[in-house]
Subunit: 458 residues, 2 copies
């Protein structure tokens, strides 16, 4: 067998599972979303499996109907800080919004998480769609899609500059002379931009990783451009191998066109593995979960996502022809398109579509044996559709347990996945370098690890 | 000995100690401010001493000259979350600014900290003075003092309403029928105020304490009015017993005038205990620390605080007559006045004043034996100047260790301090009730535990 680069696997944690009805199973803890013991258990299982990271989604709004789903959750930077203490090697990736945070505050929190975890922090950069979230922050509606991405880009510029305000060698701690830090090695940034004016310096010295791994998840045009410029890992939702290959190639080429090494940006599609002793058992498990979905409620949610009236959806018919195009909506554009394309391609009825969405919210559900799950992961990897996967178990902890105990050993045997952590930081798990300090080091921009500008930093 | 109510003691943690030169001592860890192991050690010492809480100050800005002091620090909500996992009973009070945060974000983080710590969270509400901080958030200068307090009041109204958006009994988790939460027991707030418009509900269910203990530290007129209305604990800086008694009486009377039970607001002055085997040894320890201060640097800092030119200060003379009054400054008014009054009352030279400020930044330094420290604590407590104290060791961990091992046992022997934690939440340590839910319960406003309005909640 030829030597292959190892692939990357993240545990995408979602209270008691990614399937919206998972909480109704007898074994699911009722308060999973706010129960630290439940998450600690998940974190330890994932670390036992040598996974690259724990990943938490987020939006600063109550998402979904509390009548129907366990929507109460812990804030990700708090939860991952708590999990840092219960683990020692696994990475910790928290989602946080650039639309509803201030760069100085967020930069401090991620730098602090990177310090307390010994270099295991990652930031999944999102722009946060939806009027509901906007109305928690003094706005009537979500800012326009493109404007959100402009703000996100400036936000990342400011945050990365703040993380560089202390040179790695700034602290001298010279007790004899009373000099704590070298005055020349701590700098303000005096950023003056369209969205932000921030003086700095940060009040946290440079952290073990320099700064957290930068992750991004949008798949719209704006999203892909942003990813190509800034992201070190991209979480994506791809339903078919062909789509996966096209997306992979697209983003890597965009990164290359910006002067980046395409190896410096990892593409990680989501997969919802439903694992049984036999394929039939796995399919039955999947069907059992779908039967627990309350269809009228799910139909209402789907109608909301499609920006149409619930009365226009009929459970046993296909989607109506007349629905808005991606251009006409201001929300999570790429997720919207994936849903519509999935329904059209497979000619799903609304009821079938609801089942597919209930399982993975647009991500790919794969029901089969452990061997079959390993096969599909290997196949996508070898076909150039993925550098790894976001593992999104339908039910937690059981779905993570069976993945770690049954699928991971197969991948390890095939030489596709690590059997021990080799590094101690998240960047090391991903095989990515610690970023140079742009404010203090002589950075060769032609090699440009990230597409972050230097103009405003002086 | 008559039965006395126990007093309350918090460990106010400040990297390697409150004395600005503490880091220069041979035993001080150079990277104390960002070293989790150092803080974990402090937290365990404080919990061994059965102290009420760990307390962390904060400002979203690099405070002080990094050339001279260990100003790199971890963000308090992150650090206290990490310490929650290393402890089991002690309270966790984080400072956070109402001027540079959004209520929805902050309410989530504190609710999450309260969940992961099992009800040990406290929020020290500050309005954040200073142009330096303002310039990290798109402003040219700090907002006007009174306006900061108006925003703070509205912020607390919004946050406390958000914490009440889930009734305690909202989650049914009825797996049979598929009803997660009772739709009538989760509510939006649709707050529309001067500074904030926030719809809610929060995406975190109500936490063990209902919401974090509300703490406040200002001593200006605005600060005292704010404390009387909202605070459950007040951290204050009082140099003399007479001032302490006057402040105590003032705040309790203001609270009573607002219809609150004065027992519901605990007054906790700061004290910097410098402890020796003999009084002479303690004084020598104190003097040794003062000798480590770099006087020219400290003079520059003092001039900045007084809004005068450094050239107008002379180390071996008293403060000049002609300095601004409290009304003329927009900063931390009450701290400013305390400094000036201390200098005038004791006719200190600038050099002497610098020594006093270097030790406790305006708080009262007390050098003596363990017995003498216990005596002064008891005396202030019996005289009606304090319900307890913020313990601010000049050097950490040694100053906390000696306080816990030598002073606490004396206070316990005198029946003044607990020998075991009786409750498990921070509110229980302070003998304060869990707040009723104003959005769902029939709250008798005449008894008004807190001066928080209901008008905007409907």
């Amino acid at each position: 067998m030829p030597e292959r680069k190892p692939l990357h696997l993240n545990a995408f944690l979602m209270s008691v599972g990614h399937h919206e009805a998972a909480w109704r199973l007898p074994q699911s803890p009722a308060s999973g979303g706010t129960d630290l013991d439940h998450y600690t258990n998940l974190a330890r299982i994932a670390e036992r499996g040598k996974l690259d990271s724990l990943f938490l989604a987020d939006s600063p709004v109550l998402q979904g109907d509390p009548g129907r789903r366990p929507v109460s959750k812990l804030e990700p930077t708090v939860l991952l800080t708590a999990l840092a203490g219960a683990t020692s090697r696994i990475g910790l990736i928290a989602t946080a919004s650039t639309s509803y945070n201030e760069p100085y505050n967020l930069a401090r929190r991620f730098a602090s998480l990177d310090h307390v975890s010994g270099g295991r922090a990652g930031w999944n950069i999102v722009t946060t769609a939806g009027a509901d979230a906007a109305r928690n922050f003094g706005l009537d509606d979500t800012p326009q899609h493109h404007a959100r991405y402009l703000r996100a880009a400036e936000f990342v510029e400011v945050a990365t500059k703040l993380w560089d305000t202390w040179a790695d060698d700034a602290v001298l701690a010279d007790k004899e002379s009373g000099v704590f830090a070298s005055a020349e090695r701590v700098r303000a940034i005096r950023h003056q931009g369209t969205y932000f004016r921030v003086d700095g310096p940060l009040n946290v010295r440079r952290s073990p990783q320099g700064y957290p791994l930068l992750v991004q998840a949008g798949s719209s045009e704006d999203g892909k451009e942003f990813a190509a410029r800034y992201a070190e890992a991209v979480f994506t939702a791809q339903q078919t191998l062909e789509e996966g290959i096209a997306f992979y190639k697209d983003v890597k080429q965009r990164a290359e066109a910006l002067g980046r090494n395409p190896e410096g940006i990892k593409i990680l599609p989501g997969i919802v593995p439903v694992i049984g002793e036999t394929e039939a058992e796995a399919r039955e498990l999947d069907a059992e979960l779908d039967r627990l979905i309350v269809p009228e409620y799910a139909k209402r949610q789907l109608a909301e996502r499609l920006r149409i009236a619930p009365e226009d959806l009929h459970l046993d018919e296909e989607l109506p022809e007349d629905i808005p195009t991606e251009d006409e909506i201001e929300g999570a554009k790429s997720r919207y398109t994936l849903v519509v394309e999935l329904a059209r391609r497979e000619r799903l009825t609304v009821r079938e579509l609801i089942g597919r969405l209930g399982g993975g919210r647009g991500h790919r559900t794969f029901a089969g044996t452990a061997e079959q799950v390993a096969d599909t992961i290997e196949h996508w990897y070898d076909s150039g559709a993925a550098d790894g996967f976001n593992i999104m178990p339908a039910v937690l902890p059981s779905g993570l347990e069976v993945f770690v105990d049954r699928v991971v050993p197969i991948l390890q045997e095939r030489g596709l996945f690590r059997t021990e952590y080799e590094g101690s930081t998240l960047r090391e798990h991903y095989g990515l370098p610690r970023p140079a300090n742009r404010l203090f080091e002589d950075v060769d921009r032609s090699e440009g690890h990230l597409g972050i500008g230097l103009a405003a930093a002086t």
